[in-house]
C-alpha cells in the first residue's frame, strides 16, 4: 500500500516536471502554426525587409519595427549598462555594509516596480523633460531608451554583482600585492575576470528591453515608419502587436502574430547566447 502511494506521488512529481516542457511546446506550436502561414502568404523578404506597414492596403513590412526595437534596445544599453555596472561594482567592492543593506533592497524594489508604472512615470516626467529641454514632441526614441535604460538597471546590477562576487579573493590580493590601488584592482583585475558574467547580465538586459511592451508604448510615439532620428517617434515589434491586435482581422491579425513569432525568435537567440555565456563563466 505504502509502496503504491510512493510510486503514485513520484509519478505526480514527474508529470509536474514535464509541465514546463509541455508549455514550451504548446507556445512554439501555437505561435508558429498561426504566424508562419502569414509570413508565407506575405512573402518572407517582403515581411521581414518590407519598409512599409499599411494594413489597410494589405502591405505588411515589419522592417521599421525590427529596426525600431533594435535602436531602442541599443539606446537602453547605452544608458543602462555603464550605470548598472558601476552600481554593481560599488555594491560588490566599495560599499560599506550598512549602506549595502539599503542599496540591495532598493535595487530589488526597482526590479519589482510594474512596467506600466514605469511607463506612466515616463509619460508624466521624461516625455515633458525631453520635449522642453531637448526638443521634438517628447514621444521619441530617446525617451524610450532612457526609460528602458532605467528598467534594465536591476537586471544588470544583480547579475554583474554576483559575477563580481564570484571572482576568487586571490585575484584581488594579487592585484594589491603588485601595488595597484583598490580602484585599479577592482576595474582592471576583478571586472576583467568577471567579464563573461557581466556580459551575461547585459544580454539578459537586452532580452528584457527588446521584450518590454507597456512602458515603450506609453512613451515611444509608435509611428509605424522607419526611425528618423533620436527625437522622432518609433514603433517597436511589441508595440505593433499590442496597438493593433484589438481591432485586427484576417491577414492583418496573422501578420501581428507573425510579428510575435519574429520577436520570439529574437528572444530565443538571446536566451541561447545567455545560457552559452553562463556555462562558460561557471
Amino acid at each position: 500500500m505504502a509502496k503504491k502511494k510512493e510510486k503514485l506521488m513520484q509519478g505526480i512529481f514527474l508529470i509536474s516536471a514535464c509541465a514546463s516542457i509541455l508549455a514550451v511546446i504548446l507556445i512554439c506550436v501555437f505561435l508558429f502554426s498561426n504566424g508562419i502561414p502569414a509570413i508565407a502568404e506575405i512573402g518572407f523578404s517582403d515581411f521581414i525587409f518590407g519598409q512599409t506597414w499599411r494594413p489597410s492596403n494589405e502591405i505588411f513590412g515589419i522592417f521599421p519595427m525590427i529596426v525600431g526595437s533594435i535602436y531602442v534596445t541599443a539606446g537602453a544599453i547605452l544608458v543602462g549598462v555603464p550605470i548598472g555596472i558601476l552600481t554593481a561594482m560599488y555594491m560588490a567592492l566599495f560599499c560599506p555594509d550598512r549602506l549595502y543593506k539599503i542599496l540591495k533592497p532598493s535595487v530589488e524594489l526597482l526590479a519589482g516596480i510594474p512596467s506600466v508604472v514605469y511607463g506612466f512615470f515616463g509619460l508624466v516626467v521624461i516625455v515633458p523633460l525631453v520635449r522642453d529641454q531637448i526638443g521634438g514632441k517628447g514621444y521619441s526614441m530617446l525617451t524610450a531608451s532612457i526609460l528602458l535604460g532605467i528598467m534594465i538597471l536591476p537586471t544588470i546590477i544583480n547579475v554583474s554583482e554576483s559575477a563580481l562576487r564570484a571572482v576568487p579573493e586571490s585575484y584581488y590580493e594579487g592585484g594589491r600585492a603588485l601595488g595597484a590601488s583598490h580602484e585599479r584592482t577592482s576595474f582592471f583585475v576583478l571586472l576583467k575576470a568577471a567579464k563573461s558574467g557581466v556580459l551575461a547580465g547585459v544580454i539578459l538586459g537586452v532580452g528584457r528591453s527588446i521584450g518590454e511592451t507597456m512602458a515603450v508604448i506609453m512613451v515611444a510615439g509608435n509611428q509605424a515608419r522607419m526611425p528618423q532620428g533620436l527625437l522622432k517617434g518609433v514603433r517597436t515589434m511589441t508595440a505593433n502587436i499590442v496597438m493593433e491586435m484589438g481591432y485586427a482581422a484576417d491577414l492583418h491579425r496573422e501578420a501581428l502574430i507573425a510579428t510575435g513569432v519574429v520577436l520570439f525568435v529574437f528572444i530565443l537567440i538571446i536566451n541561447l547566447s545567455f545560457s552559452a555565456l553562463n556555462r562558460k563563466s561557471i
Partner: protein
C-alpha cells in the same frame, strides 16, 4: 587579539594619507568617483520615481475610488482590485503545485545529469526569458480561441500561471537544495519513506524560501499588463464567475493613462501598485532572511 588590532592600525589610512595617494594616482580617484556617481544615480532615480508618484498620487486617493461600481464619474478602481485578487489566487492555485512538485522531482527524485532534468531546466530557462507580450499572444491563441474560453478570468490566470512557473520552480529548487542532507538522512534513519521525508521534513524546512518565491510571483502577477490585455480583457467590473472578463489594477492603470482624461486616478492607482510592490518586497526579503538564519 592584540595582533589583530595592530594589523587593523596598519591597514587604516588617514584622510590626508588617502588624499596624498589619490594625488599621485588621479585615475584611481576618477574610478572611485565613477562608482560613487553610478550608484548615486541609481538610488536617486528610484527615490525620485517613488517620491514623485507618492506625492502626486496620495492626494488623489479618495473614497470614491473604492465604490463598488465603476462609472465615468467615480472611475472606481475597486472592481480592478477584486479582479486582481481573483487572478492572483487562481494563477497561484495552478502554478504553485506544478512548480513545487516539479522542483521536488528535480532535487529529490531525478538522477544527476539525466536527460529529462536537462530538458526541464532548458525549458524553464526559456520560459523565464519569454516576454510577457508573447505569453499574451499565446494565451489568446490557445486559451481564448482554441479552447474557446474567451476573454476570461480563467484564460488570464492560466496564461499568468505559465509565466510565473519558472520563477516558482527556481526559487523552490534553491530552497530545497539549501536543506542539509543530514535532515534527509535523519529521516530515513528513523525509518521514514521517501514521500514522508519530502513532505514532513524537507518541504517544511524549505518553506520560507518557497514562500519568498510565491510572494515574488504575486508581485509579477500584480504588475502584469501585456499578457492580460488579450486574455482577460479590460472590462471594468467585478467578476462573478471564472468566465468573466475584467481588468487587473495594472491594466486599469494602463487604460486610464492612455485615455488621457483620468490622469489623477492613474496617479492614485500607481500609488496602490507601488505600495503593494513595496510590501511584497519587504515580506519576501524578510522570509529570505529567515531562511538563511535557519
Amino acid at each position: 587579539m592584540i595582533e589583530n588590532s595592530v594589523a587593523q592600525k596598519v591597514n587604516v589610512t588617514s584622510f590626508s594619507q588617502r588624499f596624498k595617494i589619490y594625488r599621485q594616482d588621479p585615475l584611481s580617484l576618477l574610478l572611485l568617483f565613477l562608482v560613487n556617481f553610478g550608484s548615486l544615480l541609481t538610488i536617486s532615480v528610484l527615490i525620485f520615481l517613488i517620491g514623485f508618484i507618492l506625492i502626486k498620487g496620495i492626494p488623489h486617493i479618495t473614497p470614491q475610488l473604492f465604490e463598488l461600481q465603476y462609472n465615468t464619474q467615480n472611475v472606481s478602481l475597486f472592481p480592478a482590485l477584486i479582479y486582481t485578487l481573483a487572478i492572483v489566487f487562481l494563477s497561484l492555485l495552478i502554478a504553485v503545485p506544478l512548480g513545487v512538485f516539479s522542483a521536488i522531482y528535480l532535487t529529490e527524485y531525478a538522477k544527476r545529469g539525466s536527460k529529462l532534468v536537462k530538458l526541464v531546466r532548458l525549458t524553464a530557462e526559456t520560459l523565464s526569458g519569454i516576454p510577457s507580450i508573447v505569453y499574451g499572444l499565446f494565451g489568446m491563441l490557445f486559451f481564448v480561441i482554441a479552447l474557446k474560453w474567451g476573454y476570461s478570468l480563467l484564460s488570464g490566470a492560466f496564461t499568468l500561471a505559465i509565466m510565473i512557473l519558472p520563477l516558482i520552480m527556481r526559487t523552490t529548487e534553491e530552497a530545497l537544495r539549501a536543506v542539509p542532507d543530514s535532515y534527509r538522512e535523519g529521516s530515513y534513519g528513523l525509518g521514514a519513506g521517501k514521500m514522508r521525508t519530502v513532505f514532513k521534513i524537507v518541504l517544511p524546512s524549505a518553506m520560507p524560501g518557497i514562500l519568498a518565491g510565491i510572494i515574488l510571483s504575486i508581485g509579477r502577477i500584480v504588475g502584469e499588463t501585456a499578457a492580460l490585455l488579450y486574455t482577460a480583457g479590460s472590462v471594468a467590473k467585478i467578476p462573478t464567475g471564472l468566465m468573466d472578463s475584467g481588468r487587473t489594477l495594472a491594466v486599469h492603470m494602463y487604460a486610464l493613462s492612455t485615455e488621457g482624461i483620468y490622469v489623477d486616478q492613474a496617479y492614485a492607482t500607481a500609488v496602490i501598485l507601488i505600495v503593494v510592490v513595496i510590501i511584497i518586497n519587504w515580506i519576501s526579503s524578510f522570509l529570505a532572511r529567515k531562511l538563511t538564519k535557519g
